[in-house]
Amino acid sequence: MKIMVAVKRVIDYAVKIRVKSDKTGVEMNNVKMSMNPFCEIALEEALRIKEAGFATEVIAVSMGPAQCVDTLRTGLAMGADRAIHVDTSTSSSATNLTPLSVAKLLKKLVDLEKPGLLILGKQAIDDDCNQTGQMVAGLLKWPQGTFASKVILDKEKQVATVEREVDGGLETLYLDLPAVITTDLRLNQPRYATLPNIMKAKSKVIKKVTLEELGVEIKPDLEIVQVTEPPKRKAGVIVSSVDELIDKLKNEAHVI
C-alpha cells in the first residue's frame, strides 16, 4: 500500500506576522518559510506506518509556486520516498489556490497514484481553513477521520481505527481503507531530518506536474477584499495584590 501525504509551505510558526500597509495581505518577503506543523505530523504518521510494515511507499505532494520544492525536499529528508510538485506558477488564476482547488488536484493525484491512505494536516497555520481533508474525502467518496490523535491500521481487514479529538472528548471510528485522515497535534512528535538523510534526499525524485497536465480547472469563487490587523485591546494594569485584583473585578469590571 502507498500512502500519500499533502504538505503545505507556510510562514514559520515562530514568525510574528505583519499585515501589509496596503491591506492586500501579510508580508511574505524575507520571511522564514517552513512546512506547516500539522503537515509534519501527517508525514511522520505515514513514515511510522511504513516503518511498521503496513505501507511500501510514502509520497509527499505539494501545490504552489516553485519554492514548494524546498518544502518537499524537507519531506524527503524526513523520509518520504518521492515527491510530486503541482506547479501553479504557470497559471495566473491559481495565485489564490482555494482548499476546493487543492482538493480537486489531490483527487487527480490520488486517481493516478492510487494510495490506500491519504494523510493531511487538519489545518494550515496560515489561513486556518481546516477544509481540504474533508473536501478531498468527499470528492473521492472515501471515509474520513479528521482531527486524529491516534491511528491503528489492520492490514488484514483493511481497516483504520481512528481516535478523533472532538468537542466532547475522544471519538473512535472504524474506517474502511482507502480513507482520508487529518492529523491533530497530539498524534505524534515529528522527527528531525538528520544530516545524512538531508544528503540522501538530494537524490530523491521530485516530479513536477502542471495544472494543465492534471486537467484541473481552477475556478476562483472567493475574493480576498482586504486583510487588516485585529483591533487592539487597551493596555493592561498591573495589580499588586489579590485584594486589589478582587476589588477591581468586583467594582470596576463587575464580573464577579
Binding site: 476546493l100 473536501m135 468537542d167 472528548g169 473512535t172 472504524y174 469563487d221
Partner: protein, 329 residues
Amino acid sequence: VSTLILGEHEGGQLKQSSLCAVTAARAISDDNSITMLLAGSGPSLQQAASHAASIHPSMSQVFVADSDKLSHPLAEPWAELVHLVQQKGGYSHIIAASSSFGKNILPRAAALLDVSPITDVIEISGPQLFVRPIYAGNALSTVRYTGVDPCLLTIRSTSFPLPHISSDSKSEAAPVSQVDLSTFSEDILDKSRFLKLTSQDTERPDLGSARVVVTGGRGLRSAENFKLMEKLAEKLSAAVGATRAAVDAGFVPNELQVGQTGKIVAPELYMAFGVSGAIQHLAGMRDSKTLVYTLKEGVADYGLVADLMLVVYCFCSLNKLSQKLALKI
C-alpha cells in the same frame, strides 16, 4: 435569501452553538427564511426538533432526518444529507457552527456541492461578505463569495450572541417535517462506523459558553496542582480551560484545550494561571471581555492583551485567590 442551518443536538435539546447560527443567519438578511436541519434517530431527535421549532420566531421550518444511518453525527451520511436537502430546497446559504461537528461535516458537503466554504466566520458584513481570522487571529481577512448558490459558512459561536428567546414562543412554533430519505445515497455510508465516544464527566459549565473561565498552563507543573484550578472554578461557577502544553503534559484531557486548534472562548472573565501567552493560545481567548493574567516576573506576550495582571508566583496567588473568594461568597 434562505438559509439552512445544520443543527446539533444533545439530550433532546438544540445546542447553544446552533442557536448562535440563527443569529448569524439573521445577520445575513432580516427577511431570511431559516430552516433548521436535524438528524439522528429516536425520541431525543423528535424532542430536539420541537425544541428547535419553538426556540425563535424567525425559524420558518424544521427538517428532521430520522435514520439509523444518522444516529451518530458522522461526516459521510451528513454530507450526503446536506446535498440531498439542498437539491430540494435550493437555499442561498448553509450555516453550521464552528464546532468539531460543523468543521467535520460542512467542508465535505461543500465539496459535494462544488463550492468553496468559508470557515470560522466572525462577522457578516453582507450576504456575500464575511470576516474571518487568519494566522491564529493575528490578522483578519475579509472575503467575498463570488460563486454560485449556496454559500456555505461555519460561524464562531463566540462572535454571534444567543438570540433573544420570546416568552410566548409556543404559539408560533415552526412546522416540523420529515426529510424524505428514499433517495438517500447510501453506498459510502458503511465505510465509516462509530465505535465510541469517551468523555470526562464534569459538573463544571461548558467551556464554550461559560461566563467565567479559569485556565491553567504548564506553569502549574502537575495534575495535582491543576486541581487548584478546579477549586477556584467551583468558587466562581467557572469552566476550566487549559493550554496545549498543559494538555500535552497530561494534566487534563484534550477537550479542555483553549487555542488556535482547541476551543475558542469569549467569556466575561478569563483568568490565566501559569500560562506563557503563546500566540496559539491567545487565538483562543483574545475576545474575552476581562482578562486576568498572573505572571511570575517580567511581562510575557499577555501584556498585550491582559486587562489586569497580578505579579506573583502562580500557586501562591491561586491559593490566596481561592481562599479570599471563598470568604467573600
